[in-house]
């Protein structure tokens, strides 16, 4: 149910300097798209794979307008990439990220963008659930500011789809991990574990380690985004995840297995009020509609991420070396 191709299409990536955005730009360039990046300049020690770049904040309306002009496909990854920041300052998050997204939607509508792909948060948007895995039709009662504001943007997008026939797709993504995710920013369990274990540092986790999440390799997520950009079917909203739940304790063990380490020193921090106990996504819809499913095995994905952290892939990852 996908059609067409992105080759030669003018694609704008908002948040191109971030973890998902940087990976997405590489995939778009490989697919022959003409990619314009928007956001803060990436700090990965290697140039972005974009044709052109706007170094600007999301709140810079004029820069945003110029960037959207003439674009055929817009990938929206901006707006609250760090859940902890939204939590500390809900009003600030609303003022910058939500307002920026509303302005973006109006721009896309008025400037004739053919297709918008918005990456929402499958991990937070549903809130606590009694069922698992969680389908797209489940009620959305997020208990984090991050999740609520993703829902707000989804609803504005839904309104434009209903009223203006805007061509848009929402992907509710599980917890992505993989190369170009930076450690030490209060998110990204996998990269943080790998980095700390390699450096011989104790591992810090929130709660007792029983919290279950759905981990998705970023290459799989990016593949779903490319497919969503050319999808012609009836749905405007899809979960994208592995469909498999893993506890934090299981992730700690798997990281050690891949690194050939054992005996991790685990420090337990208090559980976070914004965390639901479990979140695993039902991915039947995206499998049927896009013919997509996660392809990268768990241990392979961890190994791939560890290689990047170790700089083995030549991709300029952080210069972390195993502790002696």
């Amino acid at each position: 149910m996908t059609s067409g191709t992105l080759a030669g299409q003018r694609c704008l990536v908002l948040g191109a300097g971030g973890f998902i955005g940087f990976n997405l730009c590489r995939a778009l360039a490989a697919a022959g798209a003409r990619v314009h990046g928007f956001g803060r300049t990436p700090k990965f020690g290697e140039p972005p794979t974009t044709e052109t770049w706007t170094n600007a904040e999301f709140g810079d309306h004029l820069a945003l307008r110029r960037a959207v002009e003439g674009m055929e496909v817009v990938f929206h990854l901006l707006g609250g990439s760090i859940p902890g920041e939204a939590e500390r300052d809900p009003v600030g998050d609303l003022r910058t990220n939500a307002v920026g997204s509303l302005e973006l939607l109006s721009l896309c509508q008025s400037m004739g963008v053919h297709r918008l792909v918005f990456v929402s948060s499958g991990g937070t948007i549903y809130g606590p659930t009694a069922v698992s895995p969680i389908s797209e039709d489940h009620p959305t009662n997020p208990i984090s500011v991050y999740g609520i504001h993703k829902l707000l943007i989804e609803k504005h997008l839904g309104m434009h789809i209903h009223r203006d026939s805007m061509q848009a797709m929402v992907l509710r993504a599980a917890n992505p991990y993989g190369p170009y995710q930076r450690p030490g920013r209060g998110q990204g369990l996998v990269v943080n574990l790998i980095t700390r274990r390699l450096a011989g540092q104790p591992v810090e986790i929130w709660g007792d380690g029983s919290t279950v999440r759905d981990y998705l390799h970023v290459d799989d997520l990016v593949r779903a985004m490319l497919a969503a950009a050319v999808y012609e079917g009836p749905y405007r909203l899809m979960n994208v995840g592995s469909g498999i739940g893993r506890s934090i304790n299981e992730v700690v063990a798997a990281v050690d297995q891949v690194l050939g380490l054992s005996g991790a020193e685990v420090r337990h921090l208090p559980g976070r009020a914004a965390d639901v106990p479990s979140n695993v996504l039902d991915v039947s819809r995206i499998r049927t509609e896009l013919g997509w499913s996660a392809q990268i095995g768990w241990l392979n994905g961890l190994r791939h991420t560890a290689d990047w952290v170790l700089g083995k892939s030549g991709s300029g990852g952080p210069a972390v070396r195993p502790a002696p």
Copy 2:
């Protein structure tokens, strides 16, 4: 399932100078509550029934903080009272009304308010539905900015209820009508029809007149709000409406019947993109939980409103007189 009384309790009404707020203040005063009003000074030609008043805009954070201090019950009626304004300027509505509501929630939480009652929009929050009447469990896909931002506030409130055990109630109100609703502001079909028919002016309606809404007399709504403020049961969200759907054409005919007029000249304006074709609320929950149901009959309610418009009730309604 209600308990206690509001007598002697310090109640803050945000939006006390508006249609619902002014009626609410009267009912609270009659119930023996100590009422503080917040908002623009009412323009009804009669003094508000409050003990004290803060004349301020919602965005005045300092004034809001002072008003919330020491309050036991807060009624939140502010934030986008005119759907058309939110529609014209979604970003502005988010910046003022949504931000103000988030700040209010934090204030109520940190300053120990016992109970918050928020009036949400049963008429817009569900969006288009295939079923009727609509229960509280129905998905919420609003197609108006007004409805989306009411949903945003509901979700933030839900987060506070979940995480901080905030005592709060959301009432999703149907279309209220009655005394103190001002005509000529793009909402309030009943008062606009009465005013124009009495003045011998043509009636203007959006669309072909088939749009169905659930009309609720403001006295009934206010009675539900007082009951919600002392409710101790498990629900945090209730529809409040008549449970009866009436088309615009039926409302036009009923108004003529009550006024003893006939042959209304109806001008049809284009339908509005933000309007759903039909909206009737399922009110079983509030009936069971609060023992509440709408008491004011339709024609009586219209007569009551017409009396106010004619100034017969001595309540200072607009000085409209029947055309000769």
